[in-house]
Symmetry: D2
Subunit: 314 residues, 4 copies
């Protein structure tokens, strides 16, 4: 129900992963119920069927590869909207049952992609340990807790959940990597503009021609709206229908973004609005003052046009 | 005074030229007073000072070369707007005091540019006649009427005014050439949209860079507004300020044109609105149904945006 | 060594996955050695270090999520190039140790994403079976072969490898889904143009502004080069350096593509060439005749320019 | 004959006008023969028929209105090229038979447009004098020399030619106005690049759509070529064929300009090359160092492409 804050949250599980860690950064979720889902489709289905009020799912990063799944789910089926984004650092720790030395580690349980992202660290610090692949970061911690392996690559929340000791933190090879999550809900009025928002769209164009994509970009460029992300996807239909996932700066309530959306609506085969929500500032740096300037520019030009239409030229 | 039909007309004289002929095609002018001016600046000055209600001046064609003067006058000084355009064929006749044979013509009085535009015809039909240059097409007719020369190149209205006999008509080398005139008035509400209108603008950009001009054109292109004319002028200020005279399809009261104008206002150093007025259809062919379609598109996209902003996604 | 056909192939393992199936469609690989790698980075590292001649890795699809990893690896580290693409249908089968009825299936081993992609089928055909997640499609087949579970979701080659019986084929919910793989090698002369090629690039722009991306697209648009894929990635560096992965139609040996690449080189912070290679036609439909036309156009315009420069205007 | 310097010059007459004054700034013309023509078509026809080697005609300014005629002549008929531009200030003087006081002037002979350009000065300095219109600036001087009028508005060279005394100089209302002339010859190799050149083109597009014009501008923009002038002209053919006269920075021998021309050739209905020639620097300010930079950029990108095509990636 629009206006009622969500209390029942679902997230891409299992427990003890980045998704849970990200969900806990949202105050309402910290107080509400938090249910893990086995997959992104399952999480979003729970929201569509009103079994949950909101789902936290990853939208951008290589961790787990759910990005494609999430976008695909948002672009198809009954509409859902992003109401909030959470960006958290990709932070891996090496954890064991107790404070042992690294040279005593013989086996390391890890999700294959976590192992891949820490491979330089592993090579440098536990070169003789065998990496044993498991199904998730949480499963790695659990397997160590159960005594199956000497150490686990896991996320901080996952190590703590099963009482492991962190032997080394920040062991990912790319220290600045992040994962971006979206809190997804059923359609309703977007959260109010904050002055530093993101608007997400799925845009369908009829041809794979660069000219069609150029026309899409021009709709943004002429309104001074920046794109912060663009991804093309084949739609699965064989003959040349493409979908582009676009994130742009600004809120649908702003004149410049609203005008750009109307432009897309006119030239594209289809446009799906996926939400306007506050930018997660910690990651992207401080908000610029450009938005206020843009709003003033739009107000000025609207007033000027009104004078022209009324025959009141200065 | 806005809303009061003009009764006092001024036009680029002298009497008996294309300008007078064009003015007579306007019913209100046929009934009102019609005063010739010696120059375009003089005609427009009379409107600015309220000595006349409207001025008819040429805006496009080589005849007389006043184009540059007219644009310059509209772009500078206190604002004026075009309320109507008149397009008439450039039609020259060879006229004499009576119905004589072409082989008896020894001298032809002509304005230099009229002579230039009929030179192939003259070479073919009166190869032995001497062309004597005079100050205007009207002066040519008058000089023949006064017995100074055997024949005149003049416009039909000019021949009739002094009682000359037309020996040959449509003698211009380019049979489809036209002159475009503008009826210029003090600012007021534009005439209502007709579904096939033209909007004229003077647009100043700060740099001579193609990128700046490209940005201007994109403002039109993304709204589906066609440009039917573009001309750059150095502004006279030495360091790189350019003015572009643009005619586009559509009326300032239409959403697509209004939005494009607002866009120009935001990106250009200055924009001067020079009028929205009905296209002279005789010359350009029938109105397209594209305008109605464009309006419907704009209404649809505005309704769609309103639903998004209200959280009412289908 | 350039010119010497590759004989030692590595692919994203384990054995019995789509990657192996895709590799077997390449005749040279069917005859050469085929080694599975545990991750995309490991596979590409083997090529970089010359332990393998070529690596087959997924570049586009949600299966397994390696897409991001692959792009990241190609964009960084010492250069590698794609020499061939392989597109195969995402085809899942349900397999068991023998020809049992579906109603006898109590547990289904599956990689989480395979389960997600077949969930409608599972719900419709084995609604009471428990899905047990395993680490890969191959592991699912192996676990069934070992008697741990009743049935497995796996790929045809994986079922056959361990002697399972296929109970149902084409069980994926999206019957037209495909995975696109790239055969990656150390730099060398690209394969010759075929008239229907793809060129892959990683393009870095200095700002996240839509204007910069628009400029990139214009480089393609003015040469009539179509983009068939575009994806933006944050580079990991915090302050606004973006990388775009672009696939365009055409071969670097063609004039239009070469000119577009030179244009990108001039305006972008960096451009990495990732290969020109034949399009996998089975998926994309027949080659168009546009390429030949484009080549003729370029030859014509070059000849025309040469005449102008020589002062030989027609 | 290409390579042979022109010795027989023709110019828009009569003698004693701006055109003659402009022609005299060209050393070869100062030594060669100089013949006045009665019109721009006549001047250009003399070059086409090889009766003259080169013609000096106005291409940009309101003085005399010949602009349209010149462009029309260059765009049609057998090809001609501009080999040099001359820019001179629009400088009017008031001249009489002797050093009389302004208050004794009762009649002023003037070409109508010269009178228009000096009207503020006339109003301020000889408010009671009658302006008598004559056919040219030269005719004004001659009429005063013959005793028909008290004073003439004319150009300095025209006053001197008939021995008049200059009573006041720089009397034009716009002190910075200039006229731009072109020296036109039969096609031949263009003069060598100087590092600060202009290239003139006539470009035909099939539709009046802004999209077509946008495509033309993109051809320049992507190569970093600035447009310094653009003018659209209806072609006279009724149904929507437009010609654009474009001046861009740079020389056809430069890579960036050559590439842009080839691009226009591919997308336009027709392109006519009208010359590459040194910019008249006095008017436009010093040459920028951008050209050298552009050349280096093009050389760098060409070398880079060659390495890619050869498989020699760094």
């Amino acid at each position: 129900m629009p206006g009622v804050p969500p209390t029942r949250f679902i997230y891409l599980g299992p427990e003890g992963t980045f998704s849970e860690q990200a969900l806990l950064t949202i105050p309402a979720a910290a107080k509400g119920t938090r249910t893990p889902a086995r997959s992104v489709p399952e999480a979003l289905e729970a929201v569509r069927s009103a079994d949950a009020d909101a789902a936290l799912v990853p939208v951008e990063n290589s961790i787990g590869g759910q990005v494609g799944v999430t976008l695909d789910e948002l672009a198809n089926g009954s509409p859902l909207v992003i109401t909030r984004e959470v960006v958290i650092p990709v932070e891996f720790v090496l954890a064991a049952r107790g404070p042992v030395g690294l040279d005593s580690i013989r086996s390391v349980a890890a999700h294959p992609q976590a192992a891949a992202q820490c491979r330089h660290w592993l090579r440098g610090h536990v070169p003789d340990a065998t990496v044993v692949e498991v199904l998730s970061n949480a499963a790695a911690a659990i397997s160590v807790s159960a005594g199956e392996h000497d150490a686990a690559i896991c996320v901080p929340v996952g190590a703590g959940r099963v009482g492991l000791t962190v032997l080394a933190d920040k062991i990912a090879d790319h220290p600045d990597a992040v994962t971006r999550f979206a809190l997804v809900a059923r359609p309703g009025p977007p959260p109010p503009p904050t002055g530093d928002d993101v608007t997400s769209l799925a845009v369908y164009i009829s041809h794979d021609r660069v000219g069609a994509l150029l026309a899409v970009l021009m709709e943004f460029a002429v309104r001074g709206v920046n794109l912060t992300r663009i991804e093309s996807y084949p739609t699965g239909e064989r003959l040349g229908r493409y979908v582009f996932f676009l994130d742009c700066s600004g809120h649908v309530a702003e004149a410049r973004v609203g005008e750009a959306l109307q432009g897309l609506r006119r030239i594209c085969a289809d446009v799906r609005f996926i939400g306007s929500y506050p930018r997660a500032q910690a990651h992207y740096g401080p908000a610029s003052s450009a938005v206020a300037a843009a709003d003033a520019d739009y107000a000025d030009s609207a007033a000027w046009l009104a004078r022209i239409r009324a025959g009141e030229l200065a």
